[in-house]
Symmetry: C2
Subunit: 121 residues, 2 copies
């Protein structure tokens, strides 16, 4: 029930909300949360997110990500940008290479919003 302040995107701020099962979302809240889900709601971006999030060190180089897909480099770059703009990935350029890091707090917030239950399936 306690509302938590989470950081969104390069410099945005969003006041988030209790779990779906606890209280109806306001239209404003829904308008803030939906873009995060939209960003995740694509098979390629889901795989990108899990590749980055589960990578040793919590970071993955784009060079590694490109090779995991049968898609063009611009397409992968586009998907990474969508995740970054949504505030789900951090970007970090070191030398020639660009590294992305998952924002665990954002994922945790989203997860708690959607299904906050101790009982497993």
């Amino acid at each position: 029930m306690s509302k938590s302040l989470i950081v969104l995107g390069p410099a945005e701020t969003v006041l988030c909300c209790p779990p779906l099962t606890v209280q109806p979302l306001s239209q404003d809240q829904a308008d803030q949360v939906a873009p995060l889900l939209r960003a995740l709601a694509d098979p390629v971006r889901l795989r990108l997110m899990s590749l980055v999030a589960s990578h040793p060190g919590g970071e993955a180089c784009v060079c590694d990500l490109n090779s995991a897909f049968d898609l063009s480099q611009p397409t992968i770059s586009h998907h990474l940008k969508v995740l970054y703009d949504a505030g789900l990935l951090d970007r970090n350029k070191r030398g020639i290479w660009v590294y992305y890091r998952a924002r665990a707090e954002q994922l945790a917030s989203l997860g708690a919003l959607i299904g906050y239950t101790a009982a497993s399936v």
Copy 2:
């Protein structure tokens, strides 16, 4: 890490997956999960979902849902169908009225997949 069998849609079955942060999703897994997120990734459907899920009794009548939006009845019906087809809502017709119920297990699975963390923000 343990894979759990969850029920999807009117009669579908889906083998689900460990949290994004634990292990990369396979393409097949991503293809199965993405539609669920797509269904949720709309402000209207998010509000519909939370209205139903947080309704006393866990059930909500369409007649109540329509009045909560500034949208036409067919549009609400369309969004409910999307959530139903994705396996996130159950439908139940009693007399003239139709009641929808949230599938808590599905929401819990999705939530655990996205952000399974004890640490709050």
